[in-house]
C-alpha cells in the first residue's frame, strides 16, 4: 500500500494553502484533486478581491490562484490530478481512483478541503435546458469561454448572484434582472451598484415562479413574495430569457467527513451540515482536519487562512514545527481571519463559526 504523511483532499484555495504550509514545514504532502486542473473555484473569480493587502486585496482571483500554484510547486508538494478520493476508511486509509486504477493510500494526517456545491431550487420548468447554477455559468464564461445563453434571469442576490451577473455582462450576455426572495439584497452593495449602473434591475421580494419553454428555457415568470415567502397574487412579471441562473447558496461537500465518522452540526448560515472542528481546524476524528467551504461556506480569503491553520496544525502535530512557532503563526492567521469576519456581512459568520467551537466543546 502506498503511503503519504499528509494527504490533502481538494486543491482549491484551502487545500493549496494547507499543502503549502505543511510542505514548507517539512512534511511530505500529497495533494489530490478530482479535476484536470487545480485551483478549485478560484480561477473563475476574475474580479478583484476585497480585504487587506495580506488578503491579496485588489488582486484578481485567478492571479491569486497562479501564485498559490507557483508556491505549491516550489514547496515540493506532490499533486495528483484527475484523481478522486472515493473512500476514507479506518486508520486514515484512503481509496483513490484515477487513470491508473484504484489504490489505497495510508495517510498519517488528512486535510479535507473539498469545498462546496451549489444548491438547486425547484419550480415548474426547473429541468429545462437553460436552467443552470450560477457557478456553472461562471465556469462556462470564465474558464471555457462560451456563453451558456444570451438573455439571463439571475435568481438570488448574494455575492455569487451579483458577481456572476456582472461577469455575464462582461462576457457579452444580457442579464434582464436579478430576483431576490428576501426583503433585501443579500450581497455587497457595491456589486449591486455595478450592475444597476449597467441597466440590470434588481427585484427584492420576488422569486421565480415558473419557467416556460418547449425544449429549453424561453421565458421566466417571477412573482412577488411576502416576508413569509408566500407568493403575492397578481404580481407576476414575465421575462423573455433563454437562461435562468440559480444562485441559491452553497452547501459543504462533506461526504468524506461523514464516512470518516466526523460529528456534524447543522448551521444554515454556513450552508447546512458542517463538520464540527476546533480553532486548529481538527475535526472530532483525531488526525482529520477540515478547511475552506467544507468547514462552513464563506469565501476564498477565509478558505486560504483556514487552509493555513490546518497545514500548520498538522505540521506541528507531526513534529515538523515547534509548538511556539506554530502558535505564533496560528495567532497571526487567527487575527487575519477575525478581520475578515467583521462588519454587517462578516459578524454573522463569526458568530456561527463560534457555535462550531461550542459544538466542539460539547462533543
Amino acid at each position: 500500500m502506498l503511503s503519504a504523511e499528509v494527504a490533502v483532499i481538494g486543491a482549491g484555495p484551502a487545500g493549496l494553502s494547507a499543502a503549502i504550509e505543511a510542505a514548507k514545514a517539512g512534511a511530505e504532502v500529497l495533494l489530490i484533486d478530482e479535476n484536470a486542473k487545480p485551483g478549485g473555484q478560484l480561477f473563475k473569480q476574475i474580479h478583484k478581491f476585497f480585504g487587506s493587502k495580506a488578503h491579496h486585496a485588489g488582486i484578481r482571483g485567478m492571479d491569486i490562484g497562479n501564485r498559490l500554484l507557483q508556491e505549491t510547486k516550489e514547496s515540493g508538494v506532490k499533486v495528483w490530478l484527475n484523481s478522486i478520493v472515493w473512500g476514507l476508511f479506518e486508520d486514515k486509509i484512503l481509496g483513490v481512483a484515477n487513470q491508473e486504477g484504484s489504490k489505497s493510500i495510508q495517510a498519517k494526517k488528512i486535510i479535507l478541503a473539498s469545498g462546496a456545491s451549489e444548491n438547486a431550487i425547484s419550480f415548474p420548468g426547473w429541468t429545462l435546458p437553460g436552467v443552470i447554477g450560477a457557478g456553472a455559468a461562471q465556469t462556462m464564461i470564465n474558464i471555457h469561454r462560451v456563453l451558456p445563453g444570451e438573455r439571463v434571469l439571475m435568481v438570488g442576490s448574494g455575492n455569487v448572484g451579483l458577481i456572476v451577473s456582472y461577469q455575464l455582462l462582461q462576457a457579452g450576455a444580457e442579464v434582464v434582472a436579478v430576483v431576490e426572495a428576501a426583503q433585501k439584497i443579500g450581497g455587497y452593495g457595491v456589486h449591486a451598484s455595478k450592475i444597476r449602473r449597467a441597466g440590470v434591475s434588481i427585484l427584492i421580494s420576488h422569486t421565480v415562479k415558473e419557467v416556460k419553454g418547449k425544449d429549453q428555457v424561453e421565458a421566466a415568470i417571477v412573482a412577488g413574495v411576502d416576508k413569509n415567502w408566500n407568493p403575492i397574487p397578481h404580481t407576476e412579471k414575465t421575462f423573455q430569457v433563454d437562461t435562468v441562473c440559480i444562485a441559491a447558496g452553497l452547501r459543504p461537500l462533506a461526504e468524506l467527513a461523514w464516512i470518516a465518522g466526523c460529528e456534524f452540526v447543522y448551521l444554515s448560515e454556513l450552508g447546512g451540515f458542517v463538520p464540527v472542528h476546533n480553532e486548529n481546524m481538527e475535526s472530532t476524528v483525531s488526525g482529520i482536519y477540515v478547511a475552506g467551504d467544507i468547514a462552513g461556506v464563506e469565501e476564498a480569503s477565509t478558505a486560504m487562512e483556514e487552509g493555513r491553520l490546518a497545514g500548520i496544525s498538522v505540521a506541528m502535530e507531526m513534529g515538523y514545527l515547534g509548538k511556539e512557532k506554530a502558535e505564533e503563526i496560528r495567532e497571526a492567521v487567527g487575527e487575519r481571519l477575525k478581520s475578515l469576519r467583521i462588519g454587517p456581512f462578516g459578524e454573522e459568520r463569526q458568530k456561527t463559526k463560534q457555535r462550531i467551537l461550542e459544538a466542539w466543546q460539547r462533543r
Binding site: G135, I141, V146, D215
Partner: protein, 106 residues
C-alpha cells in the same frame, strides 16, 4: 457562442480544432475543452432525454457533481460532459434514460 474578446481575460487563444460527431453530425470543437463547451459553442442545448417522458436535460452544475449533462461517449453511457475533454474523432450521442453500452454515435 464563444467569448472571443473579454475585458479581463483578453483575446481567446486559438486552440487546435478537433472534429467530433454529435448524433451523427460533425462539429468543430477546441482541443482540451469539455464536451459541454463544444455543444454550447455549436448551439446545442440537450444532453439526454428522460426515459419515461422523453424530456430534455442539459447542463446544471458544470463541475461534475449533478450528472444532468451525461451523454453516451464512444459507446459508454453516463459520461459527464462538463468534465470530459473532447478528442479528435470522439463520437457523442444524446443519451435516452440510462443509455446503452456499445452504442457509439451513429
Amino acid at each position: 457562442m464563444r467569448v472571443l474578446h473579454h475585458p479581463v481575460l483578453g483575446k481567446l487563444r486559438k486552440e487546435k480544432v478537433v472534429k467530433i460527431t454529435v448524433d451523427g453530425n460533425t462539429l468543430e470543437a477546441s482541443e482540451g475543452e469539455p464536451i459541454i463547451a463544444a455543444l454550447l459553442a455549436n448551439g446545442i442545448r440537450v444532453c439526454r432525454k428522460t426515459k419515461k417522458k422523453g424530456e430534455p436535460r442539459f447542463l446544471f452544475c458544470g463541475i461534475g457533481r449533478c450528472t444532468d449533462c451525461v451523454m453516451i461517449v464512444d459507446g459508454i453511457p453516463n459520461i459527464r460532459t462538463c468534465v470530459t475533454a473532447v478528442r479528435e474523432g470522439m463520437r457523442i450521442k444524446t443519451q435516452v434514460g440510462l443509455g446503452e453500452w456499445g452504442s457509439p454515435g451513429c
